[in-house]
Subunit: 308 residues, 2 copies
């Protein structure tokens, strides 16, 4: 079985070495050295050139190197074979960790202290116990569930919101469009870990932000498309949102003229929350390759109607 690797954001040599350990029977080819296209039955890719996958006549499965596949699905040349999103334990740990970091940062008023430092102000905000801070985690898939669980373990009051109801120990669950208001009302901090789909695009708009506790904070670790950026800027201007941490933006890299860059109440990180690593991702891909060869069902297959 030959697999084609194609990504500008991942290290092909490291992935080939990791796959050689986990699935030595698989021949890994690194694009553009495709060789005989007819021998390629699987592809491990991130945003391949449009048409590349369609040019592989024997292709039976596509494995995404990323967890969010909305851009892969938007490619009209994507073949109809199963598309699997990346589920990598180190990616999950990394995402939950960064969610905890940003929630702790807000819970301990570090954004306020950073503003005070710039203004030369030494003023204490009395610390509160973690249970006094209500965090709403949007999305309870692999990544959202891990983040909600870690936040719960730390003692925060955690609500979760997902498309379909999902029970997680210690998390107050809400589901669907009808459950959004209850998930958000009066929350101190919202953490977005949703997939980007037709339903979730633009979800975080003026009406959404108005539901948070006045002076609430937003952490977006998912996709820039979830946020209506002008609405967020308005909510920051009125103080309804006291601070936002954005790991993702509508356009990445963020254009130099964008107001987020110099906004005193926005923290930007360059889509850095979570990456799949060859050491931990390759075993997951190898398992799916064995399933492909033996005809067993693949894991983490994207439901194209749902979008994730």
């Amino acid at each position: 079985l030959a697999l084609l690797f194609c990504s500008r954001d991942d290290d092909p040599v490291a992935w080939r070495a990791a796959l050689a350990r986990e699935a030595p029977e698989v021949e890994v080819r690194i694009w553009p050295e495709t060789g005989d296209a007819a021998a390629i039955e699987a592809a491990l890719v991130w945003l391949p050139p449009p048409g590349l996958l369609a040019s592989l006549p024997s292709l039976r499965a596509v494995f995404s190197l990323g967890a969010g596949v909305e851009r892969m699905l938007a490619d009209p040349t994507l073949p109809g074979v199963p598309l699997c999103r990346m589920v990598d334990p180190s990616m999950t740990t990394s995402m939950a960790e960064v969610a905890l970091l940003h929630v702790l940062r807000y819970h301990r008023d570090l954004d306020t202290y950073e503003r005070q430092q710039r203004a030369g102000v030494w003023r204490l905000v009395l610390p509160r116990p973690a249970r006094a801070t209500t965090v709403c985690v949007l999305g309870l898939g692999e990544l959202g569930a891990a983040a909600a669980t870690l936040l719960t373990r730390h003692g925060f009051t955690v609500r979760g919101w997902s498309r379909a109801a999902r029970a997680i120990d210690g998390v107050t669950g809400h589901a669907g469009a009808d459950g959004l208001a209850a998930a958000l009302d009066g929350a101190d901090i919202v953490v977005c870990l949703l997939p980007l789909t037709a339903e979730t695009r633009g979800l975080i708009d003026a009406a959404f932000l108005a539901r948070l506790k006045p002076g609430g904070r937003l952490v977006n670790l998912a996709r820039g498309g979830h946020v209506v950026e002008p609405d967020l800027l308005d909510a920051l201007a009125t103080g309804q949102v006291a601070h936002a941490t954005l790991d993702v933006t509508a356009v990445e890299p963020l254009p130099p003229e964008h107001p987020f860059w110099r906004h005193p109440r926005v923290t930007l990180t360059p889509h850095a929350a979570s990456y799949s690593l060859p050491e931990t991702g390759a075993p997951v891909v190898a398992d799916n390759l064995r399933r492909l060869r033996s005809g067993r069902p693949l894991r983490h297959v994207v439901d194209r109607a749902r979008g994730y």
Copy 2:
């Protein structure tokens, strides 16, 4: 039994209410309404006016509202009765939490991203697993041990340093002057939670900082007197220390002209890491008051020779 409360930094009414619940038999008087001084057998104080405690002829014990008592011990009018430092479970939790926040912030390169944001730079630093970050916790008393344990539970590689050897699960322990080099050598992040004593004053100097991994980070949650501030500024200038988070400074509030205020590689918080709360601190004081009345040994008594 009458107890005198005196502090400018703590809420006397909340403490009196909490003590009324926990120790209803105790009469709490709030300075300066001292009443008959001869009836006062205990004092719950933070930095009382010099001479106040010495003026109480029946005083049998002094309870500090703070964990660090070096300023109380420096008062030559402090009576020779037992002095107990505050050990409050919420204070311990709060301190461990803030240590985790700042370690996560460095581990996830948020200081770098904040600098990049100011410079308009969008550049990823690949996340690393927590075990790849070595944290040295200085001080393994009530607060340091809790911080080290929480960091260990999160997956960091944790070393501890204390005056006398102390075993903590998952923490590589080092002790005494001889053990300091091994505790520090090549550490990514140092978290200071030491008591301030004659031995620890000025510990964090040029030689100390030179032992960290180049580009290491410092988190001081203890006392400003632990750090030789000009040496830290030099180490920040050379890059030996990439960033420092200081919750405490030699002079507090930090004077307006101090270079830390506007230093791009210093995060200042206004002695905000941890506070004793009446709800959680009062039961601890009440327990000691019962011990005092029944003649049993008090808990958390300061060893004046040792300084904590």
